[in-house]
């Protein structure tokens, strides 16, 4: 009985230590995802957007070019953090309807008249952006042009 009792005590101790370590080290371990606290107390720092590295060109607008029925350069992978303001723009060489899944946004693009979306990334996950060519007044089969990945 006694060695068994000791083994349980050791195991339970190990479990407690592991949980404690986990709680202490969790945030430093996840250094690449520390945006969570930033997102919750963003109220004071409203004027200057803190994420400078993510948005180099065109004042933070992600641009997709839809040409010959496909996105130029393949499906565009767009990554943002939860709570970010997202700006999407799709140019097209034909009339097309664009749909951002999950956020249920719909827009229309035409040659010289891109579709634009401005929204706040509130839902987390990977969401599909789909374009449908419009011919003769009705939508063709959808083509994925981008994925929007919203990380915590």
């Amino acid at each position: 009985m006694e060695p068994r009792g000791r083994a349980i005590a050791v195991a339970a101790g190990a479990a407690v230590v592991a949980v404690a370590l986990f709680l202490v080290l969790r945030d430093s371990g996840g250094s690449d995802t520390t945006s969570k606290p930033v997102a919750t107390n963003e109220a004071p720092a409203k004027k200057e957007p803190p994420k400078e590295k993510r948005k180099p060109p065109e004042a933070g607008t992600e641009t997709i070019e839809f040409k010959n029925g496909a996105p130029v350069g393949g499906v565009q992978e767009i990554e943002v953090s939860s709570g970010d303001e997202v700006s999407l723009r799709m140019t097209s060489d034909v009339p097309a309807d664009v749909h951002v899944h999950g956020y249920e946004l719909e827009g229309e693009a035409a040659p010289g008249d891109p579709a634009t979306f401005d929204f706040r990334a509130t839902a987390e996950g990977e969401f599909e952006v789909e374009a449908h060519e419009v011919t003769g007044g009705h939508e063709e089969e959808g083509v994925q042009v981008a994925s929007v990945t919203v990380t915590p």
């Binding site: 083994a7 349980i8 996840g30 939860s82 999950g102 969401f127 599909e128």
Partner: protein
């Protein structure tokens, strides 16, 4: 050249994919697995605990409510009605899978939701099974006409649950491989779901006509056999029309004695593994092989289907091999029974792992997919703009679950499944080896198998859509 990389069937249904589990959580999950493993090993109990079920009936009034003829007829009618709605919406509705009742109902509500219900409430599918209801109604009608239909054939018991294994693998093949081009007009369409439902109805009813209703439900009707396996984890059980409660996990211990049971639980794990792997680390290989097939003249869609079929088979074989290695190792312990008996003896310990894999991979899909099911897909089953219950314009609220919450549920499910599997394995080892020392040596091998399965599960989660 078109890219063969296509979004997964599930992503198409709800327009969202889970984020891969981050590295730090992967590492902590794996460490937790090792720690809890040693906790289980160090608390080694010395006599079997789960071999007696201690089933006790509830008060007769409660039993009557659940098992009365009226309840049975009502539940059966609901099942038949839903099967009818699937076929009707599949044939008549829009071919956009995400806007048609049929796809979400079959692949999310039925296939995944029934597993959850079975684990919590017991073998509920038996009551709602539309094929059983149709067959029972037929027998009842024949009795009114003064005839007693009898099964012309004796079910060959050697076959055991193998027909159900084939059925489950075929279902997943249909979902993941045939539906590989699951976007709009290629792959799975609501129309093909309706056709498959009609074909399967023929299979289920035909089997019952040949071998008898109960025999076929217990052996060949794939969904009955599959959901019944998960219901063994539940504490509720109906015996001779009386509802009762049994010791948790006890019903799993007698499950695997029928031939084909081991194959069924391994296939369950293999199915989920393949779905995770094809979106993750196998995706590139599947694409390259499919491209090769396309270069030798196969058309694009069938190239990817043939390629996926091959990798699906390899995945199933790899899962079986992993288990076999563990059993082979256990066999080296003195006093072990024959290899085949040993493999069967521990098969039931994989049921919790199979469940954990399902929860880890599909929890968020069910959570979001059911919101679609009970709102717009209910009000507008055909996707033609109707609004039967006024919920056609209500959508899925994707902000209800954060990515972090989903990660914790995924990793937590794997750890709980792992511990449950270990507990069952330890309990069985005491029965098989009798003597505690040999039992605990044999469990080092089972521990290896369980850790491998759980870490594979974690790895798949960290890989998906990567």
């Amino acid at each position: 050249v078109i890219s063969l990389s296509l979004p997964s069937a599930h992503g198409v249904l709800i327009g969202r994919e889970d984020l891969p589990v981050p590295e730090w959580l992967f590492a902590w999950g794996a460490s937790a697995v090792l720690i809890v493993s040693f906790v289980v090993l160090s608390t080694a109990w010395r006599s079997q605990r789960f071999d007696r079920d201690n089933w006790r009936p509830f008060a007769p009034a409660l039993s009557r409510l659940v098992t009365s003829r009226i309840t049975e007829v009502l539940a059966g009618a609901i099942g038949v009605f839903l099967l009818g709605v699937v076929v009707w919406s599949g044939l008549e509705g829009t071919e956009a899978a995400n806007l048609n009742f049929a796809a979400t109902f079959v692949f999310i509500t039925f296939w995944l939701g029934t597993v959850a219900l079975s684990v919590v409430f017991g073998d509920v599918f038996r009551a709602f099974n539309p094929w059983r209801a149709i067959a029972k109604a037929w027998v009842w009608a024949a009795a009114l006409a003064g005839r007693r239909p009898r099964a012309p054939l004796e079910y060959p018991e050697r076959l055991g649950r193998w027909p159900a294994v084939a059925g489950i693998v075929a279902f997943v093949w249909f979902e993941l491989v045939y539906g590989a081009g699951a976007i709009q007009t290629t792959g799975i369409t609501p129309h093909s779901i309706a056709i498959a439902s009609i074909v399967y109805t023929g299979y289920a009813l035909g089997g019952m006509a040949l071998f008898g209703i109960d025999r076929w439900l217990a052996r060949g009707e794939a969904f009955s056999v599959y959901f019944e396996m998960f219901s063994r984890l539940s504490v509720f059980e109906v015996r001779e029309r009386r509802l009762g409660i049994r010791r948790i996990l006890s019903a799993t211990t007698t499950w695997a004695v029928v031939p084909g049971s081991l194959a069924l639980v391994l296939a369950t794990i293999g199915n989920t593994t393949f779905d995770g792997a094809q979106e993750g680390f196998l995706g590139g290989a599947i694409d390259r092989f499919a491209n090769g097939l396309e270069n030798i003249g196969l058309d694009a869609l069938w190239s990817i289907r043939v390629s996926e079929t091959l990798f699906f088979a390899v995945t199933l074989a790899a899962i079986a091999l992993l288990y076999w290695i563990g059993v082979r190792g256990m066999r080296t312990v003195r006093g072990s029974p024959a290899l085949r008996d040993l493999a069967t003896a521990f098969a039931h310990t994989l049921i919790p792992i199979g469940l954990a894999y399902l929860v880890a991979h599909y929890f968020s899909l069910v959570f979001f997919g059911e919101q679609a099911q009970v709102t717009y897909l209910l009000s507008d089953p055909l996707g033609d703009g109707s609004d039967l219950f006024g919920t056609a314009s209500t959508g899925i609220d994707y902000t209800l679950l954060s990515a972090t919450a989903i990660w914790y549920i995924q990793v937590g499910a794997l750890i709980v499944g792992h511990v449950t599997g270990l507990i069952l394995a330890h309990d069985r080892a005491i029965g098989v080896y009798g003597e505690p020392r040999a039992a605990s040596i044999s469990q080092r091998w089972m521990l290896l198998v369980m850790v491998a399965f759980t870490c594979l599960g974690l790895f798949l989660l960290s890989q998906s859509n990567a």
